[in-house]
Amino acid sequence: MTVAAEKPLTAAIRSDGEVLGLREYEQTGGYQALKKALGEMTPQSVQEEVKKSGLRGRGGAGFPTGMKWSFVPVGPDAPRPRYVIANADEMEPGTFKDRYLMEGNPHQLIEGLILAGYAIQADVAFIFIRGEYKLAQERLAKAIAEAYAAGHLGKNILRSAFSLEMILHVSAGRYMCGEETGLLNALEGKRANPRSKPPFPPVAGVWGKPTIINNVETLVNVPHIIAKGFAWYQGLSRSRDPGTKIYGASGKVKRPGLWELPMGTPLGEILEEHAGGMRDGLKFRGVLPGGASTDFLVQEHLGVPMDFLEVQKAGSRLGTGTMIVLDDHTCPVGMVSNLIQFFAQESCGWCTPCWSGLNWAKQILAAMEEGRGKSGDLEKLQFQTKFLAPGNTFCALAPGAAEPLQSALKYFRDDFERHIREQRCPWRA
Protein backbone atom coordinates (compact mmCIF):
# COMPACT_ATOMS: atom_id res chain seq x y z
CA MET A 1 0.00 0.00 0.00
CA THR A 2 1.50 3.28 -1.04
CA VAL A 3 -1.38 5.56 -0.09
CA ALA A 4 -1.67 6.40 3.61
CA ALA A 5 -4.76 4.54 4.69
CA GLU A 6 -7.55 6.26 6.60
CA LYS A 7 -7.81 5.52 10.30
CA PRO A 8 -11.24 6.83 11.32
CA LEU A 9 -11.29 5.09 14.72
CA THR A 10 -7.86 6.10 15.99
CA ALA A 11 -6.58 9.11 13.99
CA ALA A 12 -7.84 11.54 16.66
CA ILE A 13 -6.42 9.60 19.61
CA ARG A 14 -3.48 11.45 21.14
CA SER A 15 -0.09 9.77 21.19
CA ASP A 16 0.80 11.20 24.62
CA GLY A 17 -1.90 9.08 26.31
CA GLU A 18 -4.07 12.08 27.21
CA VAL A 19 -7.82 11.81 26.71
CA LEU A 20 -9.92 13.73 24.17
CA GLY A 21 -12.46 15.88 26.01
CA LEU A 22 -15.83 16.86 24.59
CA ARG A 23 -14.59 19.96 22.81
CA GLU A 24 -11.60 18.19 21.27
CA TYR A 25 -13.83 15.34 20.13
CA GLU A 26 -16.23 17.82 18.53
CA GLN A 27 -13.31 19.51 16.78
CA THR A 28 -12.52 16.20 15.08
CA GLY A 29 -16.11 15.94 13.81
CA GLY A 30 -17.48 14.30 16.94
CA TYR A 31 -21.27 14.27 17.51
CA GLN A 32 -21.90 15.35 13.89
CA ALA A 33 -23.27 11.86 13.19
CA LEU A 34 -25.64 12.18 16.14
CA LYS A 35 -26.85 15.58 14.85
CA LYS A 36 -27.33 14.08 11.40
CA ALA A 37 -29.16 11.01 12.66
CA LEU A 38 -31.52 12.88 14.97
CA GLY A 39 -32.08 15.71 12.49
CA GLU A 40 -32.41 13.91 9.18
CA MET A 41 -32.69 10.16 9.67
CA THR A 42 -35.31 7.79 11.03
CA PRO A 43 -34.20 4.98 13.36
CA GLN A 44 -34.96 2.63 10.48
CA SER A 45 -32.64 4.49 8.11
CA VAL A 46 -29.81 4.43 10.70
CA GLN A 47 -30.28 0.66 10.90
CA GLU A 48 -30.33 0.43 7.11
CA GLU A 49 -27.12 2.43 6.74
CA VAL A 50 -25.29 0.17 9.20
CA LYS A 51 -26.77 -2.94 7.57
CA LYS A 52 -25.62 -1.76 4.11
CA SER A 53 -22.17 -0.91 5.47
CA GLY A 54 -21.65 -4.61 6.24
CA LEU A 55 -20.17 -3.86 9.69
CA ARG A 56 -19.59 -7.10 11.62
CA GLY A 57 -19.11 -7.41 15.37
CA ARG A 58 -15.55 -6.86 16.60
CA GLY A 59 -15.89 -8.70 19.92
CA GLY A 60 -14.98 -12.09 18.47
CA ALA A 61 -18.06 -13.64 16.88
CA GLY A 62 -18.36 -11.32 13.87
CA PHE A 63 -22.16 -11.17 13.73
CA PRO A 64 -23.52 -8.51 11.30
CA THR A 65 -24.35 -5.50 13.48
CA GLY A 66 -27.25 -4.05 11.47
CA MET A 67 -28.90 -7.46 11.30
CA LYS A 68 -28.59 -7.88 15.07
CA TRP A 69 -30.32 -4.52 15.57
CA SER A 70 -33.12 -5.52 13.19
CA PHE A 71 -34.15 -8.41 15.50
CA VAL A 72 -35.49 -5.95 18.08
CA PRO A 73 -39.26 -5.96 17.93
CA VAL A 74 -40.73 -2.61 16.84
CA GLY A 75 -44.18 -1.09 16.68
CA PRO A 76 -46.63 0.26 19.25
CA ASP A 77 -47.06 -3.10 21.03
CA ALA A 78 -43.33 -3.90 21.24
CA PRO A 79 -42.04 -4.34 24.80
CA ARG A 80 -40.39 -1.48 26.68
CA PRO A 81 -38.07 -0.42 28.10
CA ARG A 82 -35.43 -1.43 25.59
CA TYR A 83 -31.76 -1.61 26.45
CA VAL A 84 -28.54 -1.09 24.54
CA ILE A 85 -25.27 -2.21 26.07
CA ALA A 86 -21.64 -1.60 25.20
CA ASN A 87 -19.70 -4.74 26.06
CA ALA A 88 -16.53 -3.23 27.54
CA ASP A 89 -15.68 -6.36 29.51
CA GLU A 90 -12.49 -6.90 27.51
CA MET A 91 -10.91 -10.00 29.05
CA GLU A 92 -9.94 -12.23 26.14
CA PRO A 93 -6.29 -13.00 26.87
CA GLY A 94 -4.01 -11.14 24.49
CA THR A 95 -6.65 -8.48 23.70
CA PHE A 96 -6.08 -4.83 24.56
CA LYS A 97 -7.82 -2.80 21.87
CA ASP A 98 -11.00 -1.69 23.65
CA ARG A 99 -9.05 -0.27 26.58
CA TYR A 100 -7.07 1.88 24.13
CA LEU A 101 -10.26 3.08 22.39
CA MET A 102 -12.01 3.95 25.67
CA GLU A 103 -9.04 5.64 27.34
CA GLY A 104 -8.12 7.63 24.24
CA ASN A 105 -11.54 8.72 23.00
CA PRO A 106 -14.42 7.91 25.36
CA HIS A 107 -16.88 10.21 23.55
CA GLN A 108 -16.50 8.18 20.36
CA LEU A 109 -17.91 5.15 22.22
CA ILE A 110 -20.64 7.23 23.83
CA GLU A 111 -21.73 8.62 20.45
CA GLY A 112 -21.74 5.14 18.91
CA LEU A 113 -23.81 3.84 21.79
CA ILE A 114 -26.33 6.70 21.52
CA LEU A 115 -26.67 6.01 17.78
CA ALA A 116 -27.21 2.30 18.42
CA GLY A 117 -29.78 3.30 21.03
CA TYR A 118 -31.53 5.57 18.54
CA ALA A 119 -31.56 2.83 15.89
CA ILE A 120 -33.48 0.46 18.17
CA GLN A 121 -35.29 3.24 20.08
CA ALA A 122 -33.74 2.21 23.37
CA ASP A 123 -34.59 3.86 26.68
CA VAL A 124 -31.49 2.99 28.68
CA ALA A 125 -27.85 2.40 27.70
CA PHE A 126 -25.25 0.65 29.83
CA ILE A 127 -21.51 0.57 29.40
CA PHE A 128 -20.58 -2.72 31.05
CA ILE A 129 -16.89 -2.32 31.87
CA ARG A 130 -14.55 -4.68 33.70
CA GLY A 131 -13.52 -3.70 37.21
CA GLU A 132 -9.80 -3.59 36.46
CA TYR A 133 -10.07 -0.86 33.79
CA LYS A 134 -9.83 2.00 36.26
CA LEU A 135 -8.51 4.72 33.95
CA ALA A 136 -11.12 3.92 31.28
CA GLN A 137 -13.84 4.05 33.96
CA GLU A 138 -12.72 7.47 35.16
CA ARG A 139 -12.54 8.87 31.65
CA LEU A 140 -15.90 7.41 30.62
CA ALA A 141 -17.62 8.69 33.77
CA LYS A 142 -16.33 12.20 33.03
CA ALA A 143 -17.28 11.96 29.34
CA ILE A 144 -20.82 10.76 30.16
CA ALA A 145 -21.25 13.75 32.47
CA GLU A 146 -20.01 16.08 29.70
CA ALA A 147 -22.40 14.47 27.21
CA TYR A 148 -25.34 14.99 29.57
CA ALA A 149 -24.33 18.63 30.11
CA ALA A 150 -24.14 19.17 26.34
CA GLY A 151 -27.63 17.73 25.80
CA HIS A 152 -26.34 14.61 24.03
CA LEU A 153 -27.86 12.38 26.69
CA GLY A 154 -30.96 12.50 28.85
CA LYS A 155 -34.39 13.81 27.90
CA ASN A 156 -35.01 15.06 24.33
CA ILE A 157 -31.49 14.73 23.02
CA LEU A 158 -30.53 17.75 20.90
CA ARG A 159 -34.18 18.88 21.30
CA SER A 160 -35.44 15.81 19.41
CA ALA A 161 -38.14 13.40 20.57
CA PHE A 162 -35.46 10.83 21.46
CA SER A 163 -34.40 10.35 25.10
CA LEU A 164 -31.71 8.02 26.44
CA GLU A 165 -30.18 7.52 29.87
CA MET A 166 -26.62 6.15 30.04
CA ILE A 167 -25.17 4.28 32.98
CA LEU A 168 -21.58 3.16 33.52
CA HIS A 169 -21.74 -0.27 35.14
CA VAL A 170 -18.45 -1.40 36.66
CA SER A 171 -18.17 -5.19 36.93
CA ALA A 172 -16.42 -7.30 39.55
CA GLY A 173 -14.38 -9.75 37.49
CA ARG A 174 -14.76 -13.06 35.60
CA TYR A 175 -14.30 -13.75 31.88
CA MET A 176 -17.87 -15.09 31.66
CA CYS A 177 -19.25 -11.54 32.01
CA GLY A 178 -18.09 -10.82 28.46
CA GLU A 179 -20.31 -13.62 27.13
CA GLU A 180 -23.51 -11.97 25.96
CA THR A 181 -25.99 -13.81 28.18
CA GLY A 182 -23.55 -14.07 31.09
CA LEU A 183 -23.30 -10.28 30.91
CA LEU A 184 -27.09 -10.01 31.19
CA ASN A 185 -27.10 -12.12 34.34
CA ALA A 186 -24.22 -10.10 35.81
CA LEU A 187 -26.12 -6.87 35.14
CA GLU A 188 -29.13 -8.31 36.96
CA GLY A 189 -26.95 -9.00 40.02
CA LYS A 190 -26.58 -12.73 39.48
CA ARG A 191 -23.75 -15.17 38.83
CA ALA A 192 -22.64 -14.76 35.20
CA ASN A 193 -23.81 -18.16 34.00
CA PRO A 194 -24.93 -18.29 30.36
CA ARG A 195 -28.60 -18.44 29.38
CA SER A 196 -30.30 -20.82 27.04
CA LYS A 197 -30.85 -19.40 23.54
CA PRO A 198 -33.43 -18.82 22.10
CA PRO A 199 -34.81 -16.43 23.10
CA PHE A 200 -31.94 -14.24 21.93
CA PRO A 201 -31.19 -10.97 23.76
CA PRO A 202 -32.65 -8.67 21.05
CA VAL A 203 -36.02 -10.26 21.85
CA ALA A 204 -35.66 -11.06 25.56
CA GLY A 205 -32.50 -9.77 27.19
CA VAL A 206 -31.83 -7.99 30.45
CA TRP A 207 -34.86 -8.14 32.79
CA GLY A 208 -36.62 -9.98 29.97
CA LYS A 209 -36.65 -6.88 27.75
CA PRO A 210 -35.23 -6.42 24.23
CA THR A 211 -31.49 -5.80 24.56
CA ILE A 212 -28.72 -5.14 22.07
CA ILE A 213 -25.16 -5.86 23.15
CA ASN A 214 -22.30 -4.64 20.97
CA ASN A 215 -18.55 -4.66 21.48
CA VAL A 216 -16.72 -1.35 22.03
CA GLU A 217 -14.82 -1.47 18.73
CA THR A 218 -18.05 -2.30 16.88
CA LEU A 219 -19.82 0.73 18.35
CA VAL A 220 -17.04 3.22 17.63
CA ASN A 221 -17.43 2.42 13.93
CA VAL A 222 -21.05 3.57 13.93
CA PRO A 223 -20.58 7.38 14.11
CA HIS A 224 -18.23 7.23 11.12
CA ILE A 225 -20.62 5.09 9.07
CA ILE A 226 -23.49 7.48 9.78
CA ALA A 227 -21.42 10.60 9.11
CA LYS A 228 -19.78 9.45 5.89
CA GLY A 229 -22.04 6.73 4.54
CA PHE A 230 -21.79 3.01 3.84
CA ALA A 231 -20.01 3.37 0.49
CA TRP A 232 -17.11 5.31 2.04
CA TYR A 233 -16.94 2.71 4.81
CA GLN A 234 -16.68 -0.19 2.40
CA GLY A 235 -13.89 1.61 0.55
CA LEU A 236 -11.68 1.52 3.66
CA SER A 237 -11.16 -2.21 3.38
CA ARG A 238 -8.84 -4.47 1.41
CA SER A 239 -11.29 -7.37 1.51
CA ARG A 240 -14.97 -8.29 1.27
CA ASP A 241 -15.42 -7.46 4.98
CA PRO A 242 -15.65 -3.67 5.12
CA GLY A 243 -14.01 -1.03 7.27
CA THR A 244 -10.80 -0.89 9.20
CA LYS A 245 -9.75 -3.26 11.97
CA ILE A 246 -7.69 -2.62 15.06
CA TYR A 247 -5.06 -5.31 14.87
CA GLY A 248 -2.62 -5.98 17.65
CA ALA A 249 0.38 -8.14 18.42
CA SER A 250 1.93 -9.31 21.67
CA GLY A 251 4.65 -11.82 22.44
CA LYS A 252 8.29 -11.61 21.41
CA VAL A 253 7.97 -9.38 18.38
CA LYS A 254 10.18 -6.28 18.12
CA ARG A 255 7.35 -3.75 18.47
CA PRO A 256 4.25 -5.11 20.22
CA GLY A 257 1.28 -2.78 19.79
CA LEU A 258 -1.99 -1.88 18.11
CA TRP A 259 -2.56 -0.63 14.56
CA GLU A 260 -5.74 0.44 12.81
CA LEU A 261 -5.40 -0.97 9.30
CA PRO A 262 -7.68 -1.78 6.38
CA MET A 263 -9.68 -4.92 7.06
CA GLY A 264 -8.01 -7.80 5.24
CA THR A 265 -4.40 -6.72 5.78
CA PRO A 266 -2.36 -9.94 5.51
CA LEU A 267 -1.15 -11.60 8.70
CA GLY A 268 2.52 -11.55 7.68
CA GLU A 269 2.36 -7.87 6.71
CA ILE A 270 1.03 -6.97 10.17
CA LEU A 271 3.72 -9.02 11.89
CA GLU A 272 6.60 -7.81 9.70
CA GLU A 273 5.82 -4.19 8.81
CA HIS A 274 3.94 -3.13 11.93
CA ALA A 275 5.17 -5.41 14.70
CA GLY A 276 8.71 -5.27 13.29
CA GLY A 277 9.15 -9.03 12.97
CA MET A 278 10.55 -11.33 15.62
CA ARG A 279 13.10 -10.16 18.19
CA ASP A 280 16.69 -10.83 17.18
CA GLY A 281 17.68 -14.47 17.57
CA LEU A 282 14.10 -15.73 17.67
CA LYS A 283 12.10 -17.51 14.99
CA PHE A 284 8.36 -17.36 14.39
CA ARG A 285 6.58 -20.63 15.14
CA GLY A 286 2.90 -19.74 15.23
CA VAL A 287 0.25 -17.23 16.19
CA LEU A 288 -3.18 -17.11 17.78
CA PRO A 289 -4.68 -14.60 15.34
CA GLY A 290 -7.53 -13.24 17.42
CA GLY A 291 -7.04 -13.86 21.13
CA ALA A 292 -6.75 -16.95 23.29
CA SER A 293 -9.81 -18.73 21.92
CA THR A 294 -8.68 -18.98 18.30
CA ASP A 295 -6.78 -21.78 16.51
CA PHE A 296 -3.04 -21.43 15.93
CA LEU A 297 -1.91 -20.38 12.48
CA VAL A 298 1.66 -21.13 11.34
CA GLN A 299 4.30 -20.09 8.76
CA GLU A 300 2.26 -21.29 5.77
CA HIS A 301 -0.57 -18.90 6.74
CA LEU A 302 1.43 -15.64 6.78
CA GLY A 303 -0.17 -14.60 3.48
CA VAL A 304 -3.71 -14.95 4.85
CA PRO A 305 -5.70 -11.70 4.72
CA MET A 306 -6.98 -10.95 8.23
CA ASP A 307 -10.70 -10.85 7.60
CA PHE A 308 -13.54 -13.06 8.80
CA LEU A 309 -13.79 -15.44 5.83
CA GLU A 310 -10.11 -15.85 4.96
CA VAL A 311 -8.97 -16.58 8.52
CA GLN A 312 -11.81 -19.09 8.79
CA LYS A 313 -10.72 -20.75 5.54
CA ALA A 314 -7.22 -21.07 7.03
CA GLY A 315 -8.77 -23.00 9.94
CA SER A 316 -8.99 -20.32 12.60
CA ARG A 317 -11.03 -17.22 13.44
CA LEU A 318 -10.41 -13.48 13.19
CA GLY A 319 -11.69 -13.25 16.79
CA THR A 320 -10.62 -9.94 18.29
CA GLY A 321 -7.83 -9.43 15.73
CA THR A 322 -5.21 -9.08 18.44
CA MET A 323 -2.55 -11.72 17.88
CA ILE A 324 -0.41 -13.61 20.32
CA VAL A 325 2.87 -14.70 18.77
CA LEU A 326 4.70 -17.93 19.65
CA ASP A 327 8.48 -17.92 19.16
CA ASP A 328 10.89 -20.85 19.00
CA HIS A 329 12.31 -20.18 22.49
CA THR A 330 8.86 -20.53 24.08
CA CYS A 331 7.36 -23.95 24.78
CA PRO A 332 4.15 -24.53 22.82
CA VAL A 333 2.95 -27.09 25.39
CA GLY A 334 3.55 -24.59 28.19
CA MET A 335 1.66 -21.94 26.24
CA VAL A 336 -1.33 -24.24 25.70
CA SER A 337 -1.15 -25.31 29.33
CA ASN A 338 -1.38 -21.65 30.36
CA LEU A 339 -4.36 -21.09 28.04
CA ILE A 340 -6.28 -24.15 29.25
CA GLN A 341 -5.54 -23.23 32.86
CA PHE A 342 -7.20 -19.87 32.14
CA PHE A 343 -10.29 -21.41 30.55
CA ALA A 344 -10.64 -24.05 33.30
CA GLN A 345 -10.44 -21.33 35.95
CA GLU A 346 -12.92 -19.08 34.17
CA SER A 347 -15.46 -21.83 33.42
CA CYS A 348 -18.58 -20.90 35.39
CA GLY A 349 -19.36 -24.56 36.11
CA TRP A 350 -22.74 -24.55 34.35
CA CYS A 351 -22.01 -27.23 31.69
CA THR A 352 -20.26 -30.55 32.37
CA PRO A 353 -18.05 -30.73 29.25
CA CYS A 354 -16.65 -27.33 30.20
CA TRP A 355 -15.92 -27.62 33.91
CA SER A 356 -15.01 -31.27 33.82
CA GLY A 357 -13.31 -31.44 30.44
CA LEU A 358 -11.23 -28.32 30.89
CA ASN A 359 -10.02 -29.36 34.33
CA TRP A 360 -9.07 -32.76 32.99
CA ALA A 361 -7.18 -31.22 30.08
CA LYS A 362 -5.52 -28.74 32.46
CA GLN A 363 -4.20 -31.54 34.67
CA ILE A 364 -2.85 -33.55 31.73
CA LEU A 365 -1.04 -30.52 30.31
CA ALA A 366 0.40 -29.44 33.67
CA ALA A 367 1.69 -32.97 34.30
CA MET A 368 3.27 -33.03 30.85
CA GLU A 369 5.07 -29.74 31.56
CA GLU A 370 6.32 -31.14 34.88
CA GLY A 371 7.76 -34.26 33.23
CA ARG A 372 4.95 -36.64 34.17
CA GLY A 373 3.36 -37.06 30.72
CA LYS A 374 2.01 -40.53 29.92
CA SER A 375 1.41 -42.43 26.72
CA GLY A 376 -2.24 -42.00 25.84
CA ASP A 377 -2.29 -38.36 27.01
CA LEU A 378 -2.49 -37.01 23.49
CA GLU A 379 -5.46 -39.24 22.70
CA LYS A 380 -7.17 -38.00 25.87
CA LEU A 381 -6.54 -34.38 24.90
CA GLN A 382 -7.79 -35.09 21.39
CA PHE A 383 -10.97 -36.59 22.87
CA GLN A 384 -11.45 -33.49 25.01
CA THR A 385 -11.42 -31.23 21.96
CA LYS A 386 -14.45 -33.19 20.66
CA PHE A 387 -16.14 -33.15 24.06
CA LEU A 388 -15.69 -29.35 24.28
CA ALA A 389 -16.98 -28.76 20.74
CA PRO A 390 -19.89 -26.46 19.81
CA GLY A 391 -23.32 -27.87 20.66
CA ASN A 392 -22.31 -29.53 23.92
CA THR A 393 -22.42 -26.39 26.08
CA PHE A 394 -24.63 -23.32 26.57
CA CYS A 395 -21.95 -20.79 25.57
CA ALA A 396 -18.79 -20.51 23.52
CA LEU A 397 -16.24 -20.69 26.35
CA ALA A 398 -15.54 -24.42 25.96
CA PRO A 399 -15.51 -24.49 22.15
CA GLY A 400 -13.21 -21.44 22.25
CA ALA A 401 -10.87 -23.23 24.66
CA ALA A 402 -10.74 -26.24 22.33
CA GLU A 403 -9.43 -24.12 19.45
CA PRO A 404 -5.84 -23.46 20.59
CA LEU A 405 -5.65 -27.01 21.99
CA GLN A 406 -6.78 -28.83 18.86
CA SER A 407 -4.58 -26.74 16.57
CA ALA A 408 -1.54 -27.10 18.84
CA LEU A 409 -2.00 -30.88 18.76
CA LYS A 410 -1.96 -30.62 14.98
CA TYR A 411 0.94 -28.20 14.41
CA PHE A 412 3.15 -28.90 17.44
CA ARG A 413 2.55 -32.63 17.89
CA ASP A 414 6.29 -33.39 17.95
CA ASP A 415 6.70 -31.03 20.90
CA PHE A 416 3.96 -32.78 22.86
CA GLU A 417 5.45 -36.21 22.07
CA ARG A 418 8.90 -35.04 23.09
CA HIS A 419 7.57 -33.93 26.51
CA ILE A 420 6.19 -37.43 27.10
CA ARG A 421 9.21 -39.27 25.70
CA GLU A 422 11.83 -37.25 27.58
CA GLN A 423 9.69 -36.89 30.74
CA ARG A 424 10.52 -33.18 30.93
CA CYS A 425 9.86 -29.85 29.26
CA PRO A 426 12.75 -29.43 26.81
CA TRP A 427 12.50 -25.61 27.17
CA ARG A 428 13.20 -25.67 30.90
CA ALA A 429 16.80 -25.88 32.10
Binding site: R174, G189, T330
Partner: protein
Protein backbone atom coordinates in the same frame (compact mmCIF):
# COMPACT_ATOMS: atom_id res chain seq x y z
CA UNK B 1 -24.45 -3.06 60.58
CA UNK B 2 -24.05 -0.94 57.47
CA UNK B 3 -22.94 2.61 58.16
CA UNK B 4 -25.22 5.48 57.16
CA UNK B 5 -22.72 6.36 54.44
CA UNK B 6 -22.66 2.84 53.00
CA UNK B 7 -26.45 2.65 53.07
CA UNK B 8 -26.72 6.02 51.33
CA UNK B 9 -24.28 5.02 48.57
CA UNK B 10 -26.12 1.73 47.98
CA UNK B 11 -29.50 3.46 47.87
CA UNK B 12 -28.16 5.97 45.32
CA UNK B 13 -27.43 3.01 43.00
CA UNK B 14 -31.02 1.75 43.26
CA UNK B 15 -32.21 4.63 41.09
CA UNK B 16 -30.39 3.20 38.05
CA UNK B 17 -31.83 -0.31 38.11
CA UNK B 18 -35.36 -1.77 37.96
CA UNK B 19 -34.74 -4.39 40.69
CA UNK B 20 -33.07 -4.22 44.11
CA UNK B 21 -31.13 -7.42 43.40
CA UNK B 22 -29.36 -5.75 40.44
CA UNK B 23 -27.51 -3.48 42.85
CA UNK B 24 -26.07 -6.32 44.94
CA UNK B 25 -22.64 -6.45 43.28
CA UNK B 26 -22.29 -2.68 43.51
CA UNK B 27 -23.40 -2.86 47.14
CA UNK B 28 -20.67 -5.37 47.98
CA UNK B 29 -18.12 -3.19 46.21
CA UNK B 30 -19.26 -0.18 48.21
CA UNK B 31 -18.83 -2.05 51.49
CA UNK B 32 -15.47 -3.38 50.32
CA UNK B 33 -14.31 0.13 49.48
CA UNK B 34 -15.01 1.19 53.05
CA UNK B 35 -13.86 -1.92 54.91
CA UNK B 36 -11.40 -3.66 52.60
CA UNK B 37 -13.47 -6.85 52.36
CA UNK B 38 -16.99 -8.28 52.70
CA UNK B 39 -17.65 -10.19 55.94
CA UNK B 40 -20.45 -12.67 56.69
CA UNK B 41 -22.11 -9.92 58.68
CA UNK B 42 -21.95 -7.52 55.73
CA UNK B 43 -23.42 -10.21 53.47
CA UNK B 44 -26.40 -10.53 55.84
CA UNK B 45 -26.81 -6.75 56.11
CA UNK B 46 -26.66 -6.15 52.35
CA UNK B 47 -29.00 -9.08 51.67
CA UNK B 48 -31.52 -7.67 54.10
CA UNK B 49 -31.34 -4.19 52.57
CA UNK B 50 -31.81 -5.58 49.05
CA UNK B 51 -34.48 -8.11 50.05
CA UNK B 52 -32.43 -11.12 49.01
CA UNK B 53 -31.44 -14.24 50.91
CA UNK B 54 -27.94 -14.15 52.39
CA UNK B 55 -27.24 -17.50 50.69
CA UNK B 56 -28.12 -16.11 47.26
CA UNK B 57 -25.94 -13.07 47.86
CA UNK B 58 -23.02 -15.21 49.00
CA UNK B 59 -23.44 -17.26 45.82
CA UNK B 60 -22.96 -14.05 43.87
CA UNK B 61 -20.11 -12.84 46.10
CA UNK B 62 -18.10 -16.01 45.63
CA UNK B 63 -18.54 -15.94 41.85
CA UNK B 64 -16.77 -12.61 41.33
CA UNK B 65 -13.03 -12.54 41.93
CA UNK B 66 -12.88 -8.82 42.71
CA UNK B 67 -15.15 -9.30 45.75
CA UNK B 68 -12.99 -10.31 48.73
CA UNK B 69 -14.67 -12.61 51.26
CA UNK B 70 -11.54 -12.66 53.45
CA UNK B 71 -9.59 -9.72 54.88
CA UNK B 72 -6.80 -8.49 52.63
CA UNK B 73 -3.63 -6.51 53.25
CA UNK B 74 -3.36 -2.73 53.00
CA UNK B 75 -2.11 -3.19 49.45
CA UNK B 76 -3.48 -5.76 47.01
CA UNK B 77 -1.11 -6.92 44.28
CA UNK B 78 -2.68 -8.69 41.31
CA UNK B 79 -0.23 -10.27 38.89
CA UNK B 80 -1.38 -11.06 35.36
CA UNK B 81 -0.83 -14.75 34.65
CA UNK B 82 -2.44 -14.90 31.20
CA UNK B 83 -0.77 -15.94 28.01
CA UNK B 84 1.04 -12.81 26.75
CA UNK B 85 2.51 -12.10 30.18
CA UNK B 86 3.40 -15.79 30.51
CA UNK B 87 5.38 -15.59 27.25
CA UNK B 88 7.07 -12.36 28.38
CA UNK B 89 8.35 -13.67 31.70
CA UNK B 90 5.48 -13.94 34.17
CA UNK B 91 7.14 -16.82 36.04
CA UNK B 92 10.19 -14.71 36.86
CA UNK B 93 7.94 -11.89 38.06
CA UNK B 94 5.98 -14.26 40.27
CA UNK B 95 9.16 -15.78 41.72
CA UNK B 96 10.53 -12.35 42.50
CA UNK B 97 7.33 -11.23 44.22
CA UNK B 98 6.87 -14.38 46.29
CA UNK B 99 10.52 -14.33 47.38
CA UNK B 100 10.49 -10.63 48.16
CA UNK B 101 7.18 -10.72 50.08
CA UNK B 102 7.58 -14.18 51.58
CA UNK B 103 4.03 -15.14 50.63
CA UNK B 104 2.35 -17.23 47.93
CA UNK B 105 -0.73 -16.40 45.83
CA UNK B 106 -3.80 -16.07 48.02
CA UNK B 107 -1.80 -15.08 51.10
CA UNK B 108 -1.35 -11.87 53.10
CA UNK B 109 1.99 -10.89 54.61
CA UNK B 110 2.13 -11.28 58.42
CA UNK B 111 2.49 -7.50 58.86
CA UNK B 112 -0.78 -7.00 56.96
CA UNK B 113 0.94 -4.91 54.32
CA UNK B 114 0.44 -6.98 51.15
CA UNK B 115 -1.96 -9.52 49.67
CA UNK B 116 -0.75 -11.32 46.55
CA UNK B 117 -3.26 -12.60 43.96
CA UNK B 118 -3.18 -13.79 40.36
CA UNK B 119 -5.40 -11.99 37.83
CA UNK B 120 -6.48 -12.68 34.25
CA UNK B 121 -5.27 -10.65 31.26
CA UNK B 122 -5.16 -6.94 32.14
CA UNK B 123 -5.29 -5.74 28.54
CA UNK B 124 -1.73 -4.44 28.64
CA UNK B 125 -0.28 -7.19 26.45
CA UNK B 126 1.95 -4.86 24.42
CA UNK B 127 3.69 -3.92 27.68
CA UNK B 128 3.83 -7.35 29.32
CA UNK B 129 4.46 -8.45 32.02
CA UNK B 130 1.88 -6.41 33.92
CA UNK B 131 0.34 -6.17 37.39
CA UNK B 132 -2.14 -4.09 39.35
CA UNK B 133 -1.26 -2.64 42.72
CA UNK B 134 -4.33 -1.22 44.46
CA UNK B 135 -5.99 -1.12 41.03
CA UNK B 136 -3.17 0.96 39.48
CA UNK B 137 -1.62 -0.62 36.40
CA UNK B 138 2.14 -1.23 36.27
CA UNK B 139 3.68 -2.53 33.03
CA UNK B 140 6.98 -3.63 31.46
CA UNK B 141 7.83 -5.26 34.77
CA UNK B 142 11.24 -6.45 35.83
CA UNK B 143 12.53 -7.08 39.37
CA UNK B 144 13.93 -3.54 39.72
CA UNK B 145 10.68 -1.92 38.67
CA UNK B 146 8.71 -4.16 41.04
CA UNK B 147 11.00 -3.18 43.93
CA UNK B 148 10.44 0.51 43.19
CA UNK B 149 6.64 0.03 43.14
CA UNK B 150 6.70 -1.95 46.41
CA UNK B 151 8.75 0.74 48.15
CA UNK B 152 5.98 3.25 47.44
CA UNK B 153 3.51 1.07 49.37
CA UNK B 154 3.59 1.95 53.03
Amino acid sequence: MLTAEERQEIEAELAHYPTREAVCIDAMKIVQRHRGWVSDESIRDIAELLEMSAADLDGVATFYNLIFRKPVGRHVIMVCNSVSCWIMGYERIREHLTARLGIEFGETSPDGRFTLLPIVCLGACDHAPAMLVDNELHVDLDPERIDRVLEECK
